[in-house]
Symmetry: D3
Subunit: 229 residues, 6 copies
C-alpha cells in the first residue's frame, strides 16, 4: 500500500502583513522535498489568506451570498495553490483540482500536489481531513499560527495550557463552530468529525519554522496530537 501524507497550511502562516511570506515559502520547499523521501505522495492544502479576506469583504459590501463569498475565497486559495505548484515543481501548473476525485487522479503521477478549498461552507482544514481520509493517509499535519491545541483560546486566556494530546471528544467540547465565510476557527467541528470517523493520525503544529512540519511528518513529538481512540 502506498504511504500518503496531507498537510494543511493556514493562510495566517503563509501571509505576513498582507504579503506572502517568501522566506517562509522557501523554507517550506526544503521541508516538502525532504518529506517526499518518506511518503509516496503528499497533498498540501493551502488557505486563502489575507487577499481572500479582502475580496470577501468587497463581495460582502456588494451583497453577495455567503456561498458566493466562500467561492471567491476558494478561488483565491487555488491561486495560492497554483503559485506553490509552480514554485515547487518549476512548471506552470495544471488546473488546481476542484473535487477530491480530481485530486486523487493526479497524485500518482505528480506525487506532490497542492489544493485550495473545494466547497462553500467548508474550511480548508476540513478539505485536508477529507483528502487524508480519502487517501487513507498515514498522517495529517495541520500547520497554523499557534503551537497546538490549548484548553482555552490562548488569545483570550494567556494562562491557558497547551495540550500534548487531545482526544477528539475533548476537542469537540473545546471548539466552537463558526461557518461565516472566511472566519473559521482553528479546527471546525466537521474537520474534527472526519478525523474521528477516519481514525486519522492528525497533529496540530505551529507552521513556523517549517521544520516543525517536517518533524510532525516524521511522527516526532510536536504540537498537539489528536487521539481518535
Amino acid at each position: 500500500m502506498a504511504r500518503y501524507a496531507v498537510v494543511k497550511l493556514g493562510g495566517r502562516v503563509l501571509f505576513k502583513e498582507r504579503r506572502l511570506d517568501l522566506e517562509y515559502v522557501r523554507g517550506l520547499k526544503e521541508v516538502l522535498k525532504a518529506a517526499l523521501a518518506l511518503y509516496d505522495g503528499i497533498v498540501t492544502v493551502v488557505g486563502g489568506g489575507d487577499v481572500a479576506r479582502n475580496y470577501i469583504s468587497w463581495g460582502r459590501e456588494l451583497g453577495l451570498s455567503e456561498s458566493s463569498l466562500d467561492m471567491v475565497g476558494i478561488r483565491l486559495s487555488r491561486v495560492n495553490a497554483s503559485l506553490f505548484w509552480a514554485y515547487f515543481h518549476g512548471v506552470t501548473p495544471p488546473d488546481i483540482p476542484a473535487t477530491i476525485s480530481e485530486a486523487i487522479a493526479l497524485l500518482p503521477a505528480w506525487r506532490l500536489i497542492f489544493l485550495g478549498g473545494l466547497q462553500p461552507a467548508q474550511s480548508t482544514t476540513t478539505v485536508a481531513a477529507l483528502v487524508a481520509e480519502a487517501l487513507g493517509a498515514d498522517r495529517l499535519v495541520i500547520a497554523t499560527d499557534v503551537d497546538g491545541v490549548y484548553e482555552e483560546d490562548p488569545k483570550v486566556n494567556p494562562q491557558a495550557r497547551k495540550l500534548d494530546e487531545v482526544t477528539v471528544d475533548q476537542l469537540e467540547r473545546i471548539l466552537v463552530r463558526d461557518v461565516r465565510a472566511g472566519g473559521y476557527a482553528l479546527l471546525d467541528s466537521l474537520a474534527v468529525a472526519v478525523i474521528k470517523r477516519g481514525c486519522l493520525d492528525a497533529r496540530v503544529v505551529c507552521g513556523k519554522p517549517p521544520s516543525n512540519i517536517l518533524a510532525a511528518l516524521r511522527g516526532e513529538r510536536e504540537g498537539t496530537r489528536i487521539v481518535t481512540t
Copy 2:
C-alpha cells in the same frame, strides 16, 4: 432576478420495501411539472436509498474507508438522479453534476435538474442547502418520511409534539449529529448551519403524498417551517 427552488427527496421517501416506489415517482412528476410554472429553475437532490445502504454494507465488510463508502453511496444517489432525469425529461441524461458549479452551469438551459450527493461526510440534505444558498433560492423543501420537526424523536417518544415553526437555534439543540456513512439524521448540523447563515426559507415536510411538496413550494402552511431570524 430568477426565482429558484430546491427540493431534497430522502431515500426513505423514494424506496418502499427495497424497491423504488414507482407510483410515488409518477405522482412526483406531476408535482414538479406544476411547480415549474412557479419557478425559473428547480433543483431536486435525491438520496441513495436502500440500494446505497446495501452497497455500503458490502464495502464496509471489505474494509473500505468511510470516505470510500460515502463515495459509493454518492454514486448510487447519482444513479437515482439519472433515472429521474430520464423519466422527467424523456431523454438519456447528461452526466449528473459532481460540483455545485457544474449544477449551476446546467440550470438555465434545463430548468429542472437532478443531483445526488457531492462529497464524502456530507448528507444530501446539506447538498440541497448548499445548492439553495448558491442559487439564492426562494425556497428549500426537505421531503422526508416524517411530517415535520418534532420536539423529540417521534420514534422514541410517540407523544412528541410536531412544531409548525422552529428556529434554527431550537433546531440545533434538537438535532444530534451523526456522520457515519449512510446514517445521517433528519437534518445534520451542517445543513442547519447553511440554512441559518443563508437565511433560507426552508420547510421540512412529509414527502408523501407528493402534493405536500407542491404545497410547500407554493409557500402554503405544510410541515415545519424553519425560521432563520
Copy 3:
C-alpha cells in the same frame, strides 16, 4: 512497447444471491496483484450485476427508453468499478472513465484501473474488447459463469461439448445477438467482431475460482481460446 491485459468480470461472477460475493472479491485482489508482475497495465471491466437488473426493471415500468435503461445499468456498473477501485488501491477513486480515451489517459500512472460500461446498446464484454484493441493488449480474459464456449448453450443441452479453441467464425455462428438492455449473451457479435479485426488473444474462462483468471493471464491453457487467424 508496454504490455497490457484486459479482464472482463461479468456481473454473474461478482454477485451471488443478489449480494456482492465478498469472498470472491478478496480472492480477485490477490490474482490481480499477482498479475501486475506480468503486465505494465491491467484494465478490469466490471458488469452491472443484479442491482443493475433491478434498476432496469424499475425504469422499464416507468417507460424509460432502452437507451436510458442502458445508461442506468452503465452507471451501476461504474459504481461497481468504483467500489473495486477503492478496495484494490485503498483510496477513494477518481471518476470512473466514461470514454476509452479517458481510460487510457489514466492507465500509465495507475497501472490497474476499473471500468464499467461506456455506451447504450453495448455490452461490457464489447467495452473490454474495445479497450483491449485500443491498448494493443497482449491478452483479453473474459471471466464468466461458464467454463468456456460450448458448441451449444449448456443450459439447454447439458450434453454440449466445451471447446478448447474456437475460431471467430465458428463463434459467430454459435452466438445469437440480443441487444435488449441488461440481457446480453455470453459474447455479443460486436465483441466478437472487435476480437476478430483486432486479432486479440482472447480467452473465455470461468471466473471462479479467481485463479482461473490468473492462469489465463499467464497464457496457460484454461477455458476456451478464441482463434482469430
Copy 4:
C-alpha cells in the same frame, strides 16, 4: 415533451471529388434552418468523408491498430462537425461532444448541434441511431448517396428494386456487416438493431438535393421508410 430529430449525413454526400461540396453545404443550411421550425432540437451527425479515408490509409501503412485508425477517422468527422457548426451558427464552435451525454447537455441551449463519430468500431449511422434513441427523437433521417434501400446492392445488380418500406427484419437479412475502419456499409447491423429496439421512425434518403432531407423531416414520403413493428 420536446420534439427532436436526428440527421445522419454520410461523407459521400458531403464530399465530391475529394473536396467538400460547398454548394451542397449551402443548400443544407436552408434545409436545417427550415427544419428548426418543426423541432425543438436537431442533431446532425456527419461522417469523415474522403479526408478521413486518406488519413486512415496513411495510418494503416504505419501499422496503427484498427482502433487507432477509427479514432483518427472519428477526429476527422469532428473536424467536419466543427466546420458545419461554425457555418450554421456563425460562431467558432464549442468542443464537439465525445459522448452522447455531452451532446445531450448542449442541445437545449443550442437547438442545432453537430456531431462526428464517438467510438472505434462504430459507424456514424450507429451514432445517429443511438442519439435518436437517447433523445426519444421523433425522426431519424439517414442521408446517403443512394435513394433508399434496395432489395440487393444496386451497384451490383442495376435491376434491383428500391423499397418504399422495409421492415427491420428484412433489413437485417439484406445487410452484411463490415467493421473494418472506414468501410461501413449503408447501414450496419448495430444501427439496425438500435432502430429496432428503439422503434425509431427512420428513413433512408438520397441526401441530394438537400430538399429530400427536409421532406423526410416533414414526414413526407421520401426514400425508404424502416418499419419497426
Copy 5:
C-alpha cells in the same frame, strides 16, 4: 444571426487605491443590464488589477517563470470574473471558462458571461478581441483609464491629441509591444492584429463613468473608434 458584444474591463478601471471600486461595479451592473436589451449575448473580459500585480511580484521574487507569473495573474482575473458573475446573476457562478470554446458553449444559456485571461503571454485585451472574432460580435468595447487613443502617450506628452478615429495601421505604429507579465500596454499588437483581420468594430473608451460603455455599446460616438478598412 444572433447579435453579440464583447467588453474588456481593464484592472485599472475596476480597482482604486488597491481596492475594488464598488461604486463603479454597481454602476456597471445597470449598464450591462441595459445593454442586454440590445444584444443576444455579452461577454465581459476582466483584467487582474492590483491584486494580480501583487501576486506577480511575489512570484517573481520566488523565481517563477514569466509563464507561471502570467498564469497566476490569469487565475486572479478569473477570481474577479467569478465575483462579477456572482454579483450580476445573483448565483454562485460556474467555473470561469479557460478556453474560447468553453466560453462559447455557455453563452446561449447565460447571455451575460464573464471571463478573465486565457493563456500566458496574452493580454485580456487580446482575449476580448479573440472572443469578439470567434463570436462574430457586432461590437468590441475596450474600457480603460484613458478616454481614447492618443497620438502619443498622454502620460508622457500632456499635449498629445486624442483621436476620434484611428486606423489599425496608424495604431500599430503608435503602440509598442511589451509582453512582460502584467505590464501590457493599452493595446498590444496581437489585439490590434486580431481587430484588423476580423474587421471588428472596436472602440477604446474611458471606462468611467460606466455610461461611456453603454454609449459605445449603442454605437454612439465615444472615445476612439478603430477603423479596420
Copy 6:
C-alpha cells in the same frame, strides 16, 4: 528538477505532395525514442499541414471568420497529433490537450506527448514556445523546411546567408508578422517574444533528415541558434 524539451514539427516537414511522409515519420520515431534517454519529458507540437490548408480554403469560401478557420486548422493539427501519439505509443491516444495546463497534467505519466494548435491567431510555433516556457524546458527545437534563419528570405534572395546564431533582436527585425489563418511565417513575432522573455534555448533546424532534430536536442551545432541575451 526535471529536464524537458519541446519540438515543433512544421506541416511542411510532415507532408510531401499532399500526403503524410511516412518514411519521415518512421525516422522521427527513432529520433524521439533516442531523445527520451536525454530528457524526463518531451512535448512535440505538430502543425496542420496540407490537409488543414484545404479545409481552411473550403471554410473561407463558405464565409467563415478567420477565428473559425483557425479552429478548423487547429483541430486538424490535433488529428495529426493523435495519429502520432498512436504511432509512437502503440495505443489509441487520450484526447489531445486543448490548453497548456492540460498538456502539463499529462506529461509526468506519459513522458512523450503530442500537441496540435491551441488558440486562433496563434501559430504552432508560438504554442511550442509557450509550452517550453511553461515547462522551463531546457531546449526548444523548431524543425522546418529550411536549414536555419537567413538574413533574408532565401526563396526571394538565393544569395542570402544562413546565420549560425541570431539574437532575438535581429530576428525581430528580419521577420514580418502575418496572422492570416494558415499563413504564418517561419517564426511569428509572438513566438520570438516568448523565446526572448523566457530566455529559451531555441534552435531552428531543417527537420529533414530527422537526425538533425536529435543533434539539436543533444545541443550540437545544427541550424541556427537563437541567442536571448
